[in-house]
């Protein structure tokens, strides 16, 4: 009888070797170890996600990871890291990861607001809390994702943030993840935010690289939000080294009568896959996932989301604005699931793209799986070029072409940015967009209709 063994790539073999080498020293209680073992077994059975898997169709991680970089170890704090931290504008609590490891000396841990506690993930993973494995796993819709499995198996550190009932935070909590970039490494980190009933909080997540070497980053953030909470999440993936390959997963379970809003700005992010697995755990909640992807050169940005309306009366909105130039590729895959009893669901999903030139591409794949009969769900995807008539109108009023383009593009992106609730953060996002637009050279040729 012939035994069929799937052919493993060099990277897959290296990952297996790495896991075998480090699993004993990775932090975790017995249930966490089991979680890691199961996840890795799941990964080994399927291998790195590739284009024949529907949910990874446009981001072939197997092809992108020709080799698995060595796992990151304790990095030194370079002047570039210090400089980047000094340049970031966020006041309030700042939690810093360098190469995926929590760095208390770079973080603001003294004077945490009342109701907020922070633990390094390494500590949380060895704590005795019984619900740890459940919290780490997130919604079940994420279970079969091999990108996330790798994170579960190899996650080394991160932060574990708990916000107690009724706490209203005036300033954002920033989780800043910097890559030292002195060596080519692989980084696996995961953070958890537990927001109890009635919490109002803003979480900012930054992913940047400070050094010249490319990395393989696999990050995850898990949200569990209580009833009547209002949690705003802002993710900034910027300043990456061109060959960096990054997967960022967001897992959220949202309580009843709650609000959860996530916004992601992607610019100069090299190759990035963002995946969202979001579930309604209670009725009458509103969830918004939005973002702006600014792509040029050979960059690649994949936004893949699964929105699980598991209960009735949920409202969901997705809006992603993509501006794509060079030879860059954008991907939007949005799946909205409405379970049989999730009546009165109201879902609206949109992906709008402007392609700046011939070499740029965008793939859109909206999917609605509706098993209830009294719902309102819609989706729309547009891919267009800039409107030459609009540009001529602006130029006829004296605006030079780059400025006319920037004005139109800024307005296009702004339609999503306006959902960032915090005024300072919104201004910061717009400033990042303007900076990208002004760099995107005047020299670049834009095709119009």
């Amino acid at each position: 009888m012939a035994i069929v063994t799937p052919l493993k790539t060099a990277a897959e073999q290296a990952l297996s070797q790495q896991f075998a080498n480090v699993k004993a020293e990775l932090p975790g209680t017995l249930p966490v170890r089991k979680l890691r073992e199961d996840a890795f077994a799941g990964f080994e059975a399927k291998g790195l996600p590739h284009r024949r898997l529907e949910s990874w169709r446009y981001t072939d991680l197997r092809g992108l990871l020709r080799e698995a970089k060595p796992l990151a170890t304790a990095a030194s704090v370079t002047p570039a890291i210090t400089a980047r931290l000094a340049a970031l504008p966020f006041d309030g609590v700042r939690l810093v990861l360098v190469d995926g490891a929590f760095r208390p000396e770079l973080s603001t841990l003294e004077g945490l607001p009342d109701g907020v506690s922070v633990q390094p993930l390494t500590e949380a993973l060895v704590s005795t809390r019984e619900d740890l494995a459940r919290i780490l796993s997130g919604p079940s819709i994420a279970d079969s994702d091999t990108g996330l499995m790798l994170n579960t198996a190899l996650m080394r550190d991160g932060v574990f943030v708990e916000i107690t009932e009724g706490t209203e935070l005036a300033a954002p909590i920033a989780i800043v993840s910097l890559v030292s970039g002195e060596e080519e490494t692989a980084i696996f980190h995961r953070s958890v935010v537990l927001a109890a009933k009635g919490v109002k909080a803003t979480i900012v997540e930054v992913s940047e690289s400070a050094g010249p070497k490319a990395s393989q980053i696999n990050g995850a953030i898990v949200f569990e939000t209580g009833d009547e909470s209002d949690v705003q999440h802002l993710r900034l993936v910027t300043r990456q080294v061109p060959e960096t390959v990054q997967v960022q997963s967001l897992l959220a379970t949202v309580g009843a009568h709650a609000k959860f809003e996530s916004f992601a700005l992607v610019c100069k992010a090299a190759t990035l896959r963002q995946q969202y697995f979001v579930k309604y755990a209670g009725e009458h909640s509103e969830i918004g996932l939005r973002g702006v992807n600014l792509l040029g050169g050979a960059e690649h940005s994949d936004v893949t989301l699964v929105m699980d309306h598991a209960v009735p009366h949920g409202v969901s909105r997705e809006l992603f604005k993509n501006i794509i130039g060079g030879e860059a590729t954008g991907v939007f895959q949005g799946k909205v699931i409405v379970r049989p009893h999730a009546q009165k669901t109201d879902g609206g999903m949109k992906s709008n793209t402007l392609l700046l030139n011939d070499g740029a591409s965008m793939f859109n794949k909206p999917e609605l799986e509706i098993f209830a009969d009294d719902v309102v769900c819609g989706h729309g995807a547009t891919v267009a070029q800039m409107d030459g008539e609009q540009l001529f109108y602006l130029m006829a009023r004296g605006l030079p072409q780059p400025q006319a383009e920037a004005l139109v593009l800024q307005a296009f992106a702004g339609e999503a940015v306006e959902f960032v609730a915090d005024e300072d953060l919104r201004a910061f996002v717009m400033a990042e967009i303007r900076a990208w637009l002004s760099q995107r050279e005047a020299s670049s040729v834009v095709s119009t209709v």
């Binding site: 109108y393 006829a396 009023r397 004296g398 605006l399 139109v408 307005a411």
Partner: protein, 285 residues
């Protein structure tokens, strides 16, 4: 109207700055002409098609002159306005367009605007997400920058916009809305004239400004234009109908047909056309 008067000295200043450049180049060799706009033997086709629209057109607009171009549909009137303003969809096969003696054909649309050309669009474009005030300030400052002038300070800018808006009965709330988005036909045309007043061009081209306007809006727009009439500014008013010319009384009327000017006369020519129609000129071309 009163609000517009104080801005006129500023117009003169701009024109002088633009002229100064030409003088440096031309004065030694020739005496500066009184001609604001001169079009010589212009031949234009659509860039991607083999379709010629303008066929050897000659036209002169002098400083302070209001010239009207009338003509039937398809005679090339709008194309002419686009070609003067610098739209890229056309290919100029022959001829020259001179503004104050300088050929503008090699200039991009923004440079032509900074040099003093203003086109009031027949169909002003909607620009979602760009607040009208933001746009106005960007446009004014871009032109000032191109002319080497300092940027406007915000209080000064707001004062100018408010006074120009009052003169055109433009609601201030409109200025906060995205440019032209959801504006009525009349509001869009008033917004064009507002821009014209604020940018103080030396050569104004009005493309079918009367289309889509009711009588009251037409009167407001015409008064706005008349307030800008000045001995240092030329106007080219493109229209199908004599109606607009009752409100903006031209010095000269040109009849355009099949891409050429086929007859030129005084303001009485417009009345004559209103009676006889364009049929006779179609043959003349």
């Amino acid at each position: 109207m009163v609000g517009l008067v104080p801005t006129i000295p500023v117009f003169l200043f701009h024109v002088q700055v633009v002229d100064a450049r030409h003088r440096a180049e031309h004065d030694a060799a020739e005496i500066r002409t009184e001609t604001m706009l001169e079009i010589r033997n212009l031949v234009v086709k659509i860039a991607d098609e083999d379709k010629q629209i303008i066929n050897g057109l000659n036209l002169t607009v002098n400083d302070g002159e209001v010239a009207a171009i009338m003509g039937p549909n398809g005679s090339g009137k709008s194309t002419l306005s686009y070609v003067i303003a610098g739209k890229e969809d056309y290919e100029v096969l022959d001829g020259e367009i001179l503004l104050n003696g300088e050929n503008v054909l090699e200039m991009e649309a923004d440079a032509r605007a900074a040099a003093g050309i203003f086109l009031a669009f027949q169909y002003p474009l909607e620009i979602p997400g760009v607040a009208t005030m933001t746009f106005l300030k960007a446009a004014m400052n871009a032109q000032r920058k191109a002319r080497g002038e300092a940027e406007l300070l915000t209080p000064d800018f707001i004062k100018r916009v408010n006074s120009a808006a009052d003169a055109l009965s433009i609601d201030k709330a409109m200025l906060r809305r995205p440019l032209n988005v959801g504006f009525s036909g009349g509001e869009k045309k008033r917004m064009e004239i507002l821009q014209m007043a604020l940018l103080s061009p030396s050569m104004c081209i009005l493309d079918e400004t009367d289309s889509g306007l009711d009588i009251d809006a037409l009167r407001i727009v015409a008064e706005g234009v008349n307030a800008l009439r000045d001995k240092s500014r030329g106007f080219l008013v493109i229209t199908h109908y004599q109606r607009l010319l009752e409100h903006i009384v031209p010095d000269t009327v040109h009849v355009m047909s099949k891409g050429r000017i086929v007859k030129t006369g005084g303001k009485e020519l417009a009345l004559e056309l209103e009676k006889s129609g364009y049929a006779a000129y179609a043959e003349a071309a």
